[in-house]
C-alpha cells in the first residue's frame, strides 16, 4: 500500500515479508517489493509524466520516500540496523531491520501511519508474541473496503500480484492454527504463498497462532 501509485502502474508484482525470531524474542524483519517481472513496462512508463490520469513517480521521489521510511524506522525504539535498497534496473525495493521484540515493528508501522506514509486503513498491529511460548500473526481484513472503492482497471493490477509471508524461528514449532502455512522439514519455519487478491477477497486467511515446543 506504501507504493500503491507505483504498483497501480505495473501488471505484475510480488511482496515478500519475512520475520526471523530468535529464542529471546529479538529478530530480523525484511520486506521486499519485487516488480521485476514488469520491468519492461515500468521502464517505458517511467519515461512518461502521467499514465491513465495518474502521476508517474520519479526515481528521486521513490528514493526520498524510502529514505523517509528508513528514518522513521530508525527513530522507533527497539528497531536497529535499518537497511534499505532500491534497484531501478530490476525494480526491487528492500527494507530490513533488527528488532528487540516483534511489537517494535507494529510501532514502526504505526509511526509510518502517523506520518501519512501508510494509509489510515492499513493495519499496524500485525504481530504479537509471548516469548518462547507463542507467536501470533493477527487477522487483517480491511483491505477489501479499499479494494471495492477502486476502479476496475486498478483492481486488475492485483490479479497477478503474489504475496509470500515467511516466519522463521529459533524455537521448534509445536503447532499452528492456519494450515495454509507450509511447515519446513526442520519445523522451524513457515511459509504462506498466495495471490494478493486471495487475501483481499478473504479466500485465504493470513492470521496464525504458532505454539513452540
Amino acid at each position: 500500500m506504501l507504493f500503491l501509485p507505483l504498483l497501480l502502474l505495473t501488471s505484475c508484482f510480488d511482496i515478500i515479508d519475512k520475520v526471523n525470531v530468535k529464542a529471546d524474542g529479538t529478530g530480523e524483519y525484511t520486506v521486499i517489493l519485487n516488480a521485476s517481472k514488469s520491468k519492461t513496462r515500468l521502464a517505458s512508463i517511467s519515461k512518461m509524466e502521467t499514465i491513465n490520469g495518474k502521476k508517474v513517480p520519479k526515481k528521486s521521489e521513490i528514493e526520498s520516500k524510502i529514505n523517509e521510511v528508513s528514518r522513521i524506522f530508525k527513530a522507533t525504539p527497539g528497531i536497529s540496523n535499518v537497511k534499505t535498497s532500491v534497484n531501478f534496473d530490476n525494480y526491487i525495493i528492500k527494507l530490513s531491520c533488527n528488532f528487540k521484540k516483534i511489537e517494535n515493528i507494529n510501532a514502526g508501522l504505526e509511526q509510518l501511519k502517523a506520518k501519512n506514509i501508510l494509509g489510515k486503513m492499513i493495519p499496524t498491529q500485525i504481530y504479537s508474541q509471548n516469548v518462547g511460548k507463542s507467536f501470533t500473526r493477527n487477522k487483517i481484513n480491511i483491505f477489501k473496503t479499499d479494494y471495492d472503492k477502486m476502479s476496475t482497471a486498478d483492481k486488475e493490477v492485483f490479479n497477478n500480484a503474489k504475496y509470500t509471508s515467511v516466519l522463521q524461528f529459533e524455537n521448534t514449532i509445536k503447532s499452528q492454527t492456519n494450515s495454509s502455512y507450509l511447515l519446513s522439514p526442520n519445523k522451524k519455519a513457515l511459509k504462506l504463498e498466495a495471490n494478493v487478491l486471495d487475501f483481499i477477497l478473504q479466500k485465504k486467511q493470513i492470521q496464525n497462532t504458532i505454539l513452540f515446543q
Binding site: 501488471s11 521486499i32 519492461t40 530490476n90 489510515k120 486488475e156 490479479n159 522463521q168 519446513s184 519455519a189
Partner: protein, 689 residues
C-alpha cells in the same frame, strides 16, 4: 342582399382563419445551436434487433433503479421497443450553448400517445403531476429534464442553467442572456397568447398548477436537508463554544469525539449534541430554497418557452442550409457541430478570453464539422467534412493537404504489415496556413504590428529550405509484433524458507516497424546522424555500421533496444530491423493499400486482429484473456483516409466487421453486451463469497 353580404363575410373570415392556421410557420432552430443531429429512424429501426436490445436495456434500467434510493422498488419498463415513440421516423436533436444556458433538445414523432403516457409515467418521479397547457402537456422528469407532448409529437429538453458571475478579469457588466431570453420570450409568448382565443380563468386548475409547483419544489428541498442539518450543528456549536471543535491529528473530517469534547470542557453537552435533532434554520432554508427555486423557475420557463414555440409552429423544424450542407440522406445518423461556437462562446468562451493568444485560437477554431454515420452490413462508415469558416484559411488548409506522391514510401507496405499511417502533405504550404491564421487578426490598432511580425517571420524563416528538410511525405509501417526474451529477478526458497535471488526469463512482445519520410536535403540528415556518433554524450549508444547508423540501449530490457537509421535515395529511414527498408513483394491487397497511401494526403490502416494476436502474451488475467478471445473472434480492421473534397476536408473512417452479427450496429451491441458480461463477472464472484 344583407344575408348574402353576411355569408360572404363569414366565408371570408373562415377562409382567413384557415389561411392563418396553415400559415403557421416552421420552428426555427435556435441561433445559438452549435450541435445538430438527425437520426434516420426509417433506416436505423430496421437494423435494431429489439429481441436482443430490450433485455439489455431492462437490465441496465433495473441496475440503475437499484442504485437509486427513490426508485429501489420501481419496476423497469417492460418493452423498450414499444414506448409510443415512432422509431421509424426521423428524430431531430440539437444543442445550444451560451454564457449561462446549455440545452439539449430532441424532437420525436409519436405513434401511440397512450403508450407514451404510460412510458412517461413509469419514468417520472412518484406523485409528480403532469402540467397541461393549451396545445401540449409536459412534465419535469428531473430538475433539469422536461418532456412535452401533444397527440403525435414529443419533445425532450435537458437544460442546464448557471447564473453568470461578475467577470473580475474584464470588469464587464455581465448580462444574463438567459434571463433576457426569459423576459423577451415572455413578451413574445404573451403576444402569441393574445392572438389566440383566451380560455376563461379556471381557479381550480390554477390551484392544481400551484400545488404541483410546491410538490416539485419540495423534492428539491429534501436533497439539501442533510447538509443543512450538518451546518446547523456547526452553528449551534459555534454559538456555545465560539470555536470549532479541535480536529484530531490526521483526521480529515470534523469530529465531535469525546476526547476533544473534554478539551472543550463540556463533554456531556457534547454527547447530547450528537443525538439532538435541530430544527432547520428557517433563514438558511429560505436562502437555499430561493436559489433552487430561482434556478428551477428559469429552467422551467426556458423549457416552457421552447415547448410553446414548437407546439405553436407547424411542428416542423427549420434548419439553416449551412448546417445541412454535407448531410447525406442515405446516412443513418447525421451530426453537425460548430466548433467555433462551442469553443469561442458557450462555457469555454470566457476561459478563451483569458488566454494569451485568444484571437489566434478563436480564429483557428472557427470551423464546423459534419459527420455522416452508416451502419452497413459489413462495416461502420464515418465520413467527416471539416470546413473553416474563413474562406482564405480554408483554402490554405486545403493547399497543405495537396501533397505529392512518393512511391518509395508506399513500397514499404507489405502483406505482413499489421498497419500503416501515411502522410502526403505540402509542408511548404503549412507556413502559408499559419500566416493566413494571423492575417486580419484582432484589433485594427495592432493590425500593422501583426503584419510587420509576419513579414519579419517570412524574412527570418527560409520556408523553402525548411520544407526541403522534410517536404511532407512520410509513412509509419508496423510490420509485426515479435517475441523477445527478457530476464527478470525472482525469489526461490530453500528448505528452511530462506529466500534466494534467481534470474528467470520471460517473453515480451516488441514492435517491428519502419518510419520513413522524404527529404530534399540528404546532407542535413547525414550531418545530424554523424553528430550522434561523434558527440561524446551520445556516442555511447550510437554507432555506424555500413550504411546504417544504430542506437542500442545497453540494458537490453526495453521494448525498443535497437533502432537503425539511414538516408538513402531521398528518404530518411528509422527502423527496428534493416530488413524493413527493402521493398517486398506486394499481393493485390497490399498493392491496393500502397496505392491508397500514395493517393490520399492522410491515410491509414490497422488490422486489429493481427495486432491482438501479437499482443497475446500481454493479456494475463482470466478476464483479460476472456476479453482477448472475444475481441479476437469479433474484431475487424480500421481504414482511414483524408482528402480535400470541394470546399471541405473529408475524412472517411471505415471499420470492417466480421460477419457474426446481423449488421454493424448490432455487432457493436453484441460486442458491448459480451464485454459487459465479462466485466460483471468479478462482481458476481465477489457477491457469492
Amino acid at each position: 342582399m344583407k344575408s348574402i353580404l353576411k355569408k360572404t363575410q363569414q366565408i371570408t373570415l373562415l377562409l382567413f382563419g384557415f389561411v392563418l392556421v396553415f400559415a403557421q410557420q416552421k420552428m426555427k432552430i435556435p441561433n445559438d445551436a452549435a450541435f445538430y443531429m438527425e437520426i434516420n429512424g426509417k433506416q436505423l429501426n430496421k437494423k435494431i434487433n429489439w429481441d436482443k436490445f430490450n433485455p439489455f436495456l431492462k437490465e441496465i434500467t433495473q441496475k440503475n433503479n437499484k442504485k437509486d434510493k427513490d426508485n429501489k422498488d420501481k419496476p423497469s419498463w417492460n418493452d423498450f421497443s414499444k414506448t409510443g415513440i415512432k422509431y421509424d421516423a426521423t428524430q431531430y436533436h440539437y444543442g445550444t450553448f451560451n454564457d449561462s444556458v446549455q440545452s439539449y433538445t430532441a424532437h420525436f414523432i409519436l405513434d401511440n400517445k397512450e403508450k407514451f403516457l404510460e412510458f412517461i409515467n413509469s419514468t417520472k418521479k412518484k406523485g409528480l403531476e403532469i402540467s397541461k397547457k393549451n396545445k401540449y402537456s409536459y412534465v419535469d422528469i428531473d430538475d433539469d429534464i422536461f418532456v412535452a407532448w401533444n397527440g403525435d409529437r414529443a419533445v425532450l429538453s435537458v437544460i442546464n442553467y448557471n447564473k453568470p458571475h461578475k467577470d473580475d478579469w474584464t470588469e464587464e457588466v455581465v448580462v444574463d442572456s438567459a434571463m433576457a431570453v426569459v423576459d423577451s420570450a415572455t413578451a413574445v409568448v404573451d403576444s402569441a397568447y393574445a392572438e389566440e382565443p383566451e380560455k376563461p380563468f379556471d381557479y381550480k386548475e390554477e390551484i392544481q398548477y400551484l400545488k404541483d409547483d410546491i410538490k416539485s419544489l419540495k423534492e428539491s428541498i429534501k436533497d439539501n436537508n442533510a447538509e443543512i442539518a450538518r451546518v446547523q450543528k456547526d452553528i449551534k456549536y459555534l454559538e456555545k463554544h465560539h470555536e470549532y471543535p479541535k480536529e484530531k491529528k490526521g483526521a480529515t473530517d470534523t469530529q465531535y469525539s469525546e476526547n476533544e469534547a473534554e478539551v472543550a470542557g463540556s463533554p456531556e453537552k457534547e454527547e447530547d449534541m450528537e443525538n439532538e435533532e435541530y430544527a432547520v434554520d428557517s433563514d438558511y432554508q429560505k436562502e437555499m430554497d430561493s436559489i433552487r427555486i430561482e434556478k428551477f423557475k428559469v429552467v422551467k420557463k426556458l423549457a416552457e418557452d421552447s415547448f410553446d414555440k414548437y407546439f405553436n409552429s407547424n411542428l416542423d423544424l427549420e434548419v439553416p442550409s449551412q448546417m445541412l450542407a454535407f448531410r447525406d440522406a442515405n446516412s443513418d445518423v447525421f451530426v453537425y457541430t460548430d466548433y467555433g461556437k462551442i469553443v469561442n462562446e458557450g462555457i469555454y468562451g470566457r476561459t478563451m478570453k483569458r488566454l494569451e493568444f485568444t484571437q489566434f485560437l478563436q480564429k483557428a477554431y472557427n470551423s464546423n464539422s459534419s459527420y455522416n454515420l452508416y451502419f452497413d452490413k459489413d462495416k461502420v462508415k464515418l465520413v467527416n467534412n471539416y470546413q473553416h469558416k474563413d474562406a482564405n484559411v480554408q483554402k490554405s488548409v486545403a493547399d497543405v493537404y495537396k501533397g505529392k506522391k512518393n512511391k518509395k514510401l508506399t513500397a514499404l507496405i507489405n502483406d505482413k504489415s499489421i498497419g500503416y499511417y501515411a502522410v502526403n502533405i505540402n509542408g511548404a504550404k503549412s507556413f502559408d496556413m499559419i500566416y493566413s491564421l494571423f492575417k486580419d487578426l484582432g484589433d485594427a490598432e495592432y493590425q500593422k504590428e501583426v503584419e510587420l511580425m509576419m513579414e519579419t517571420m517570412k524574412i527570418v524563416l527560409d520556408e523553402e529550405a525548411i520544407a526541403k528538410i522534410a517536404p511532407g511525405n512520410g509513412i509509419f509501417v508496423l510490420n509485426e509484433l515479435k517475441s523477445k526474451k527478457v530476464d527478470y529477478t525472482d525469489y526461490d526458497y530453500d528448505e528452511d524458507y530462506n529466500e534466494k535471488e534467481v534470474k528467470k526469463t520471460k517473453d515480451i512482445m516488441v514492435p517491428n516497424f519502419v518510419f520513413a519520410f522524404a527529404t530534399g536535403n540528404e546532407g542535413y540528415w547525414n550531418r545530424v546522424f554523424n553528430l550522434l556518433i561523434t558527440n561524446k554524450n551520445t556516442a555511447k549508444n550510437f554507432t555506424k555500421s555500413g550504411e546504417f547508423y544504430s542506437f542500442k540501449d545497453k540494458k537490453d530490457s526495453g521494448y525498443l533496444d535497437q533502432l537503425f537509421f539511414t538516408v538513402k535515395d531521398g528518404i530518411v529511414y528509422l527502423t527496428t530491423s534493416t530488413e524493413n527498408i527493402i521493398p517486398k513483394d506486394q499481393s493485390e491487397v497490399s498493392k491496393k493499400w500502397a496505392k491508397e497511401s500514395a493517393k490520399y494526403p492522410l491515410s491509414g490502416r490497422l488490422n486489429i486482429q493481427k495486432l491482438l494476436v501479437g499482443m497475446e502474451k500481454e493479456f494475463k488475467s482470466t478476464s483479460e484473456k476472456k476479453t482477448l478471445d472475444l475481441l479476437r473472434k469479433n474484431i475487424g480492421e480500421v481504414n482511414y483516409k483524408t482528402e480535400v473534397k470541394g470546399e471541405s476536408i473529408e475524412t472517411e473512417m471505415d471499420y470492417n466487421i466480421k460477419d457474426l452479427s446481423e449488421n454493424s450496429l448490432m455487432y457493436f451491441f453484441d460486442l458491448f453486451d459480451d464485454i459487459y458480461k465479462i466485466m460483471e463477472e468479478p462482481e458476481k464472484t465477489l457477491k457469492t463469497l
